[in-house]
Amino acid sequence: MATLQADYATPETERTPVVKLYLAIGLIVFAALMLVGVLMRAAQGASLSSIGPALFYQLMTLHGAGMVGTAGLAALAVNWYFLSRYVRLNPRVFLGALILSLVAVAMIVGAIMIGKFAAGWTFLYPLPANPLGQWGTGAALFFVAGLLVLGVAFLLVYLDMGLAIVRRYGSIARALGLPMLFGLERVDSAHPPTVVASAMVLIVNVAGIAAGAVVLVMTMLHLVFPALAPDALLMKNLIYFFGHVFINATIYSAVIAVYEILPLYARRPWKVSRPFLAAWLAVTLMVLAVYPHHLLMDFALPAWMAVMGQILSYTSGIPVLVVTAFGGLMLIYRSGIRWDAASSLLVLGLFGWAVGIVPAVIDGMISVNLVMHNTQWVPGHFHFYLLIGVVPMVLGFASYLGSNGEQGQTGRLGVGVFAVGAVLLCLTFLVSGANSVPRRFAVHEEAWQWLGNLGALSGGLVLIGTLMIALPILMRLPRARLSAV
């Protein structure tokens, strides 16, 4: 396949090396944190009684912060790599962000494993400052500061992306396609979906990380000066706005791999159109406004916020189901597509994202949330998005770029093992939620333990499948010429 060497694009030699680093680190950390997840489910199944509550909650914090951060960085790599085809990005900024992220990881892991910090990745105020002896103020400060450093790393890359987009397209709004959507310019079907998605991610995640920075700084101030005690509901709003936006931006970044690679397999174009642009504008607005669906059990909030949370929770799924998932299926239909590890993973990713909408939307209903909130239904639905959505998209991207998707029988088998394990794992979470099994419990009652054991077994399959796909990629990656796309 011919590669693009336009003068507005990032030179080919500069595009690949840092992306390789992001991918290699991402795949290794994904596998390691999957193992942590398996250990947690085994502990809940009482198969691993050596993990006491203190270690369990440390591992829970590590798994949450680690997976969110790693998924964010891996999806950022997808976004950066493909956006660099259309605008000139600075690889040194991208490398600098990776180094900064590694510093952040060291701070976060140190705070958890040495300082025993275990307030969960959402560091829900005022828990970090109220450990009752479980961890010290220093550990909490290190964790919170680590997240802040990670946020700075993301913002640096977004600044570079934003400047590059504005240099080529004139404004972020033009990159998002607003003039075409509103009839001010004719629809240019050659306008890359990647640029539209990147503009959306920039808008929402800069806002999300900014809110995150505010709440992180407020948490640090409270840790140092306990008398400075912000309002708990305000802090909760900021935390969930940040968390929701960040993880959504991760998904919308990762799906760029589908937009770019699937058309090559199907030998059909994925073009922008007015419905496509309308969907991305709608998603931009809804991702910013939907977060109150995390706060449906906070009755102190105004009722209109709960109603907005429920309605936007539903409408947020429509662009995914109507535009991206439908568009992907239309692309595949009667295309004679070659099914290999990469194409299978990308379609699996699209499926995980689309199917995860169902339990998410249902839990976003106020009357359902009343009995499902903070049960294992919640990790059930977000594992569909992340484990069967984002992870296969990143693995598919790595497989295509690292080995052109040709991973032979082992690769295809790995995808099968991964898919079976991941679906089973998510279903055990949903069944647990329907049985009112709480999330984030170190010790489970006997009646719930079989679900924990089944979850651990399923997680083991996920890990084996991931290793079957990722290890050959990792071995080829140093020599791979990532110039196919």
């Binding site: 909760k236 419905p275 379609v347 009995v371 069944v431």
Partner: protein
């Protein structure tokens, strides 16, 4: 309710899975007339979009009118104050009668907790957040006799899983 929610969810997910299966199964042989496929696809997509919008309006109206949350659905219930603290519940009264309506007024003395009321069948009946500086009210009408349990559903540290209390609901005299 939870079983119905699970079944509806599985049905919805099965429909999405079926759509993917059908398309993947028909991914070959290649049809080079992609514009013909897109023309047909856009028509289906338009109806799919309209269906999702219409379905959303109906479900939203059905589930939001009357407003399903918070206190106020029951006339003059007995108020019970609840305070969560690491890692125990302080409940002003731990007994009630079948058919009795109770308004739990829930707060926290330290960090965020989750007040979740489990029925005798170990299924969640109702819940709300216990927050420092706020009082959340939730109304519950006890429909079954037996031991109800209160568990914490918002992670609150080392003994979060052990933060439990009981409420006894007896048959009315």
């Amino acid at each position: 309710m939870q079983t119905a929610v699970l079944l509806i969810t599985l049905l919805g997910m099965a429909l999405v899975a079926a759509a993917f299966y059908v398309v993947v199964a028909r991914s070959g042989p290649r049809d080079d007339d992609y514009s013909g496929i897109t023309q047909q696809g856009y028509l289906i997509r338009r109806w799919w979009f309209l269906f999702l919008c219409g379905f959303g309006v109906l479900v939203s109206a059905w589930s939001l009118i009357p407003f399903p949350l918070q206190a106020g659905g029951v006339g003059a219930p007995r108020a019970i104050d609840v305070t969560g603290r690491m890692w125990s519940w302080d409940i002003a009264s731990s007994s009630a009668q079948v058919g009795e309506s109770v308004r739990f007024r829930v707060t926290s003395a330290d960090v965020n907790h989750g007040f979740a009321l489990y029925g005798p069948d170990d299924q969640i009946v109702a819940q709300t957040q216990a927050m420092p500086g706020y009082v959340n009210e939730v109304d519950v009408t006890f429909e079954q006799p037996g031991q109800y349990r209160v568990l914490c559903l918002e992670y609150c540290g080392l003994a979060h899983h052990a933060m439990a209390a009981e409420i006894t609901v007896s048959e009315g005299s």
